[in-house]
């Protein structure tokens, strides 16, 4: 019994961590640009295919290739699709991000394949180890550790570095930040590069877990993570991380706690909870202070 509980908690923590990292990538870009970047999913996707393409190389090179693919794609989409629309209204930006997302998915289907491809990535992490008498998958522990480390590193970056400070200022009042000499292009490019790093990390972990690379792998994650950023409070990074984590963890906990014949409806239960949060706290669980005061 106790190992069932621990196993479920580890499941919830690891899935919650993946969604938290995805939601953070979306939240970072929303913060500086008021853009809900649905193409974030394609950053996850491109890393998956980069891992596949570089699979024969030594592991460090495979990882390097995977991360570079997401970072470069993030920077290119910013430059080509979003920078020309920087002063457009958020709806225009949103539609542009859908366009980028579809374009990248369909390009991949056209030139690579629409079918899922198997990849035996980091098979060593699939093994189980025994921790305090409970058998756990190494990969799940790695996912939890990586999520915590990345959250801490991002927090440190935003709190303790000059660029991080500029990014927080830009998220609150971009024009005033520019008046003070904060370089808009630089801050936005760094935010996109960071979202690429987050997406690549998520991708590596998901590919290791599922052993599959497919065109819609990122889009599926992003929709759930986006719901997380909304209930957490759009524009608040703490909120995004918390919201993403809660949505991911809730899915797993419901899977474990619901009676078997209701389990197929677990997403419905999650979205009922999400609807309730939005009804009673439309500003999200941890609202962004700057956004609130701008209204």
């Amino acid at each position: 019994m106790i190992d069932r509980i621990i196993q479920t908690l580890v499941d919830a923590l690891s899935v919650g961590g993946l969604y938290a990292l995805t939601a953070l990538g979306i939240g970072l870009i929303f913060g500086v640009m008021r853009l809900i970047n649905f193409a974030h999913g394609e950053l996850i996707m491109v890393t998956g295919y980069a891992l596949l393409a570089a699979f024969a190389l030594p592991l460090p090179l495979v990882l390097l290739f995977g991360f570079l693919a997401a970072i470069v794609l993030a920077l290119v989409t910013e430059r080509v699709a979003f920078r020309p629309l920087r002063n457009a209204n958020p709806a225009t930006l949103l539609i542009s991000s859908f366009a980028v997302s579809f374009l990248l998915q369909k390009t991949l289907i056209l030139f690579v394949d629409s079918r899922p491809k198997g990849i035996d990535f980091l098979p060593a992490l699939g093994r189980q180890i025994e921790v305090v008498g409970v058998r756990l998958q190494i990969l799940q522990l790695v996912i939890i550790a990586v999520s915590v480390v990345l959250l801490a590193a991002l927090t440190w970056f935003l709190r303790a570095t000059a660029v991080g400070l500029q990014m927080r200022a830009a998220a609150e009042d971009f024009r005033m930040a520019r008046v003070l000499g904060v370089r808009a292009n630089r801050v936005i490019a760094i935010a996109f590069a960071l979202s690429g790093i987050l997406a690549a990390t998520v991708s590596c972990l998901v590919v290791a877990q599922t052993g599959i690379v497919q065109p819609r792998m990122g889009a599926q994650l992003v929709i759930i993570a986006f719901v997380g950023t909304v209930i957490g409070g759009l524009g608040s990074l703490t909120g995004a991380a918390l919201g993403g984590f809660l949505v991911g963890a809730a899915t797993i906990l419901l899977q474990a706690l619901l009676p078997p014949d209701l389990r197929v409806f677990r997403e419905a239960f999650v979205f009922v909870a999400v609807t309730l949060v939005i009804l009673f706290r439309p500003q999200g669980l941890i609202p962004a202070r700057g956004l609130r005061e701008r209204v």
């Binding site: 000059a162 400070l165 024009r175 520019r178 008046v179 000499g181 904060v182």
Partner: protein, 249 residues
Amino acid sequence: MSKGDPLLRVSGVAVRYGPIAAVRDVDLTVGAGEIVAIVGPNGAGKTSLLSAIAGIERPAAGTIEFAGRSLAGVVLEDIVTRGIALVPEGRHIFASLTVQENLMLGATTRGDGDAVRADMDRFFGTFPILGRRRQQPAGQLSGGEQQQLAIARALLSRPRLLMLDEPSLGLAPMMVDQAYAVLRSIRGSGVAILLVEQNAERAFALADRALVMNGGVFVLGGTPAELGAHPDFDAAYFGIGMQSEQAGR
């Protein structure tokens, strides 16, 4: 006060929003260390003129020179590196960031960390309330303290020209005193001030020279004492029976 070339020279500048001309063919000079006030009613074009100098709006006509160099085509974030700092209307402090972080952002373009800290400490010495609240979110400060912070933040770029847009707007009289205390504290330090105000009385108490703006042009100019005693001042300010235009050259 100005000798030789002025620090700021605005010649024939116009600012338009679509078909509406907010500023029409305005000339203005500010000498090094000089304090110039522009007063006038709401919608006179004062903010638009500051926005053009600050690089927020691109002038539809005319030239702006600062320290002998044209500002044409200089992007917003480079204006501060030229030595111009702006305190916009409504203060625009970063409410979720601490007092100290707000000040650090004022020094974004400076590389001399130690001197920045020294400047900050000097400011906290002069305004100890802000010093005590340096780790608190700036949104928790009173309106007057926020205005002090906004001015201090602008000064941390070590500007040669400080531009302020309506520093007294929306503040209780005591808070306005706090804001103007900061401006008086930098008087004589060599920093020129271009001050836009609806509150002419406050502005005149500080300024070396003042201009009345209305309908996008300067309609009167002179020392505060001259303007205060000028028979046409009220008419110029309120735009009633204006005779002369372009009095501010």
